[in-house]
């Protein structure tokens, strides 16, 4: 079925724009960048319609790495899980590419932006198509690279390149776990192919699988920004907003969830590891939501919201409701991409303003943006029958079955989510305009993707019933329907919305009064619990200073070189001999070389022959 065409099309786009883009007109750059992704989307549709998805369809292209019994193929594979991911990635990817035409129109480095974006699509598609862990890892690292490049897109800005480095390095910490998991998998099963490995998990010991599962989780925590490795994602908002939507909300950050779901045959035999996923997920969901309550930068609100929502997906996967996790992955891709693109439209309208305190009253000035974002907001808040409602209910129901305290924490988080999202919406669109720019509605190339995503945010949950689609793929997971739970969870969302309207829509003074009343707590949350400062002072600074003072100046220069130079001093005579021959005349050097070599040879031959004769 020529699966290779799916990622290769964006790669071709990257190469064309990356190499020639500087000289190409914008229209051609657009055609190449958007064309390649849309074609790829088309090829995904064609492939999926032509395949029987009940069994995995695998294609082998060439042997990538081989050494003894170790053989890693460049293999792609499609099954139901991949199908969902392919559609989300290429579908949302196409929309965001189109949106970027308008958003990036006035930015420098236009061709570079689209080249990176296409390269990202290539790696993301490799990630979901890979038929073994190592090919998945290629995509995994590759999307990390593109994330790094795009976060630091404005590379003359220090904060942007700092954020890029932070993203890459924190992800490396996660990859440390991921690669150790791969080494352990190969050590245990003698292969990294999904089919081979998963075929043997039933016979492996639980301790082994638990260890593998936990190491994979470390990797997933890095990529999907879970505790304690979530710190890079909020900073990643330094990149252009379409990047935040595509990479840091809809696709790349969900790779960890995908990878854990993909590895379900390992996890189902390692309940402790699964429980760890759920605990990490629920803790992250709650923790990040609390930070989201107090942010004033519109993108930061949605960044913490993304961390929090990814936590939900982990809860789903960790509770055994794999399909619910993937369901939420998809619906989240719809509404979170829309929230980011919408905020991008707001930022675009305000010529770069991101502080919500400088917004307000934009409802009448940019109505399309306002109402499409409203659709996304009710979806993420879990208002009944919107897309977020279905996926969140599925996860919370599974959480209740797994451990009721997770359900309650998840429900409180849902309430907070609804609150901070509508807080943002109210601060942006209601009241009167507090800034001093001249807001203008965005061009159609930006509004059309917003409209499509708005439809998907509302109806996507009903249109694409992922749990049904994946029912045969994942192990059966029956959760009894419980209307009370649904009622409780939905009301939490509704209460959150009403509270936000009450405070920020009608009486903003309440918020200030409240913030003043609990000032220390507010400051603590506003500063993100000082986790960045903690990491900086406890890990980064000691390592850097220790390396400089103890290892380099102390050990390397102070100890080893002191010993060497001490020896050197004793050999100073040799040094002065060397200075003598430093006559500056090259012919004499050459003579020395020749004489020296001959001398050495003569001595050796002498020693050797006398020894030989003995």
């Amino acid at each position: 079925m020529q699966l290779w065409l799916i990622p290769l099309l964006p790669l071709a786009g990257f190469l064309i724009n990356g190499i020639l883009g500087r000289r190409l007109p914008k229209s051609l750059i657009n055609a190449v960048a958007i064309g390649s992704v849309v074609l790829s989307f088309g090829w995904v549709l064609k492939t999926l319609f032509g395949l029987d998805l009940n069994t995995a369809h695998t294609e082998h292209y060439f042997t990538w790495i081989q050494s003894g019994t170790l053989s890693i193929g460049c293999d792609f594979s499609v099954d139901r899980l991949t199908a969902v991911m392919l559609l989300v990635v290429t579908g949302i990817g196409s929309l965001i590419h189109i949106y970027s035409i308008g958003y990036m129109a006035h930015e420098g480095g236009y061709y570079r932006f689209f080249a990176y974006l296409n390269l990202f699509m290539f790696f993301m598609l490799v990630l979901v198509l890979g038929a073994n862990y190592l090919v998945l890892f290629v995509g995994w690292e590759g999307v990390g690279l593109c994330s790094y490049l795009l976060i630091g897109f404005y590379f003359d800005k220090k904060f942007a390149t700092n954020a890029g480095n932070k993203a890459f390095i924190v992800n490396r910490v996660g990859d440390f776990g991921f690669s150790l998991a791969m080494f352990y998998i190969f050590r245990t099963f003698g292969s990294l192919d999904f089919a081979t490995v998963f075929g043997q998990t039933a016979g492996a010991s639980e301790a082994t699988l638990t260890m593998i599962g936990l190491l994979l989780l470390v990797g997933a925590c890095g990529k999907s920004a879970q505790l304690p490795l979530y710190v890079w994602l909020p900073d990643a908002m330094a990149g252009p907003t379409p990047v935040s939507a595509l990479i840091h909300a809809a696709t790349m950050v969900t790779a960890g969830v995908y990878m854990c779901a993909r590895s379900f045959p390992i996890y189902t035999h390692a309940p402790a590891a699964m429980n760890a996923i759920a605990v990490v997920g629920i803790a992250t969901a709650f923790f990040a939501a609390t930070i989201g309550l107090a942010q004033t930068d519109i993108k930061k609100v949605f960044a913490y919201s993304t961390v929090s929502q990814l936590g939900y997906m982990f809860v789903g996967v960790g509770c055994g409701a794999f399909s619910a996790g993937i369901y939420h992955l998809m619906t989240h891709a719809f509404f979170k991409a829309l929230l980011f693109l919408g905020s991008g439209s707001v930022i675009h309208a305000l010529s770069g303003e991101q502080d919500m305190r400088e917004m307000g009253g934009l409802r009448t000035k940019i109505p399309w943006t306002c109402w499409t974002m409203f659709c996304a907001s009710i979806a993420i808040a879990g208002v009944p029958l919107t897309s977020g409602y279905f996926s969140k209910e599925a996860i919370l129901a599974a959480a209740n079955q797994h451990a009721p305290w997770m359900f309650w924490l998840g429900t409180i988080t849902a309430g907070m989510t609804a609150f901070y999202v509508f807080r943002a919406w109210c601060m942006t669109f209601l009241g009167t305009y507090r800034g001093h720019h001249h807001p203008h509605e965005s061009p159609p190339s930006m509004l059309v993707p917003l409209a499509i995503l708005a439809v998907l945010s509302i109806a996507g949950g009903l249109l694409f019933k992922i749990p049904t689609f994946l029912a045969t793929f994942f192990p059966e997971h029956e959760v009894p329907e419980d209307f009370t739970l649904t009622l409780i969870a939905s009301s939490a969302g509704i209460i959150g919305i009403l509270l936000a309207f009450l405070i920020y829509g009608f009486k903003p003074s309440i918020a200030d009064a409240f913030a003043r009343a609990v000032k220390p707590l507010y400051t603590f949350v506003y500063n993100k619990y000082y986790v960045d400062e903690l990491y900086d002072n406890v890990i980064v600074k000691p390592v850097v200073n220790g390396s400089r003072v103890v290892l380099w100046k102390g050990f390397d220069a102070g100890l080893i070189d002191a010993i060497v130079n001490g020896t050197g001093t004793r050999a100073r005579n040799l040094g002065s001999v060397l200075r003598l021959i430093q006559s500056g005349n090259i012919r004499s050097y050459a003579t020395w070389v020749l004489l020296g070599s001959l001398g050495v040879i003569a001595v050796i031959v002498g020693i050797a022959s006398s020894g030989g004769m003995r």
């Binding site: 050494s67 390095i169 010991s205 082994t208």
Partner: protein
């Protein structure tokens, strides 16, 4: 003996030597002729080595193009040379990099031009010889021959502290060479031959055997000589100084090829000759390698000088190579060899581009740069790709090597892998931090007035290197199969004379565990 094939091999060795002699004869007043001559001769040698690849029989693991001529009959010294699936690639690496070194030095070397290129070609001759020699005495001669031109490259064309660096380099290496020489002579006294192949045969037949103590001393004598060259922690302090002071071409050849003399020596001589000692010392050596991986990376992170940073990163990268060899696993050894080649390409490229920056800005201090990406986008792109290769991004060369080393090590000693993998995190730290400070940020005014983008001659240096990074990262099958045949043999040889076998964990052991659980 296939004469035509042997001639093919010899020509790779002889062409640089002819080049050296011819370069010495070029009149001093014509520097341009020296440059062109060096370029032509080094390209000829490269073409010759490509011929070698095409004639190489990839289905065989043993030595090929075997040539054995008596040199000094009285002591049975032979001019014995041959090529195997590992040395083949190291030779090609040498001949591939030499023309690039000529191009890199084109404008930057303005004094004593003819001698510079003469020494460069002599260096190539010595290096190719080291990888060809199968007679221990001949090996020693080439080992020393390669040392001399490098000493002068650093000492004459180096920067301010060149004499200190050159002497330090010389003393360190000579100390090791002396130990090796003693060991070679001792071997000769026991075996009455310098022929490496004969000694190996005698060992395997049992005609020659050493007591445990003897073997250990011999092993250590060879190993220390090689470990200094690698350099293995804590014998590495000559390297940063030599690199910082060396001219660009010297740094490239030093890092890319000369360091591999050490790792090649360990793999080709130490392990097969003294397998029992190698196994006994393996845990200690692995610990040093792992310390080197982490230590090199940490110290690299805090370097204010670009070349020093890259030098310490070499300590870290070469730690992976040593670790791979002493994992005594197929994947680990294959990875080690691949990593030797990868490091040659990517660190060669790092030094080349740092050299281009030095030529423009006349500084190696990181703080003197900033915003280079704005004024020289293609140069920055080339450095970015090299950086990514260096930190082991998949689809670029180093990833394949690092993966194999770590996977191979994990098969035998999983806990070693855990510590070594920390180096992978740290490599991202120091390289990306370097990249940020040099290439990103607002344009430093000095940078704006001095730094321009690549010119065609520089493109000719950068493109082959980048192409190789991608090729070796995507399609390792062009290289690994021949390597694997040799390493399989080395592994086989390393079992000779080892009574208490180190237990081999393999995938089979794992699946047995799985079966038991069932």
């Amino acid at each position: 003996m296939n004469l035509a094939a042997a001639f093919q091999m010899l020509s790779v060795l002889v062409v640089p030597l002819i080049g050296f002699i011819a370069a010495m004869c070029v009149p001093r007043s014509r520097p341009q002729n020296s440059r062109s001559l060096a370029l032509v001769m080094s390209l000829l040698a490269f073409l010759d080595s490509l011929q070698l690849i095409s004639k190489f029989d990839r289905t065989q693991g043993g030595e090929q193009f075997v040539l054995d001529l008596t040199w000094i009959p009285s002591v049975d010294i032979h001019f014995a040379t041959s090529v195997n699936g590992v040395s083949l690639w190291l030779i090609v690496l040498t001949t591939f990099l030499t023309p690039l070194c000529v191009l890199v030095s084109w404008n930057s070397i303005q004094s004593r031009v003819k001698e510079f290129y003469a020494f460069l070609l002599l260096l190539e001759f010595g290096l190719v010889g080291v990888f060809l020699a199968q007679d221990l005495f001949l090996f020693y001669v080439f080992w020393e021959v390669s040392l001399v031109p490098m000493y002068f490259l650093v000492g004459i064309w180096g920067h301010d502290r060149r004499i200190y660096a050159a002497v330090k380099f010389f003393l360190y290496t000579m100390a090791g060479s002396m130990l090796m020489l003693v060991a070679i002579i001792y071997l000769y006294l026991q075996a009455h031959t310098f022929s490496y192949t004969k000694i190996l045969e005698m060992l395997s037949r049992g005609d020659l055997s050493f007591t445990a103590g003897e073997q250990m001393l011999l092993f250590l004598a060879f190993f220390v000589a090689f470990a200094i060259k690698v350099p293995l922690f804590p014998l590495h302090t000559w390297l940063p100084d030599a690199h910082v002071e060396a001219p660009t071409a010297g740094s490239i050849m030093l890092a890319s090829v000369m360091l591999k003399m050490g790792t090649y020596g360990i793999m080709h001589f130490c392990v097969p000759l003294f397998p029992r000692s190698a196994h006994t010392c393996a845990p200690w050596i692995a610990v040093l390698a792992i310390i080197g991986i982490i230590y090199g990376a940490l110290v690299a992170m805090v370097q204010p000088n670009m070349k020093k940073l890259v030098a310490y990163s070499s300590v870290s990268h070469l730690g992976f190579v040593v670790l791979g060899i002493f994992s005594f696993s197929q994947a680990g050894m294959d990875g080690a060899v691949y990593q030797m080649l990868n490091h040659g390409i990517s660190t060669g490229a790092l030094f080349a581009i740092v050299g281009l920056l030095y030529e423009r800005r006349h500084s190696l201090e990181i703080k003197d740069f900033g915003g280079v990406a704005t004024v020289a986008p293609w140069l920055s792109t080339a450095f970015l790709i090299t950086t990514l290769a260096s930190i082991g991004l998949p689809l670029l060369n180093n990833f394949v090597g690092e993966f194999l080393v770590l996977q191979g090590t994990a098969m035998e000693h999983y806990q070693w892998t855990i510590y070594a993998s920390i180096g992978v995190i740290l490599s991202a730290c120091y390289m990306l931090w370097l990249y940020q400070r040099v290439f990103y940020g607002e344009v430093n005014p000095e940078v704006r007035s001095h730094i321009s983008d690549l010119i065609p001659r520089e493109w000719a240096v950068v493109i082959p290197l980048v192409v190789m990074m991608v090729w070796m990262g995507v399609y390792s099958q062009s290289f690994l199969p021949t390597v694997g045949k040799v390493t399989a043999l080395v592994l086989e040889q390393s079992k000779i004379n080892v009574p208490e076998r180190v237990q081999i964990h393999g995938p089979r052991a794992g699946s047995m565990e799985a079966a038991n659980a069932r």
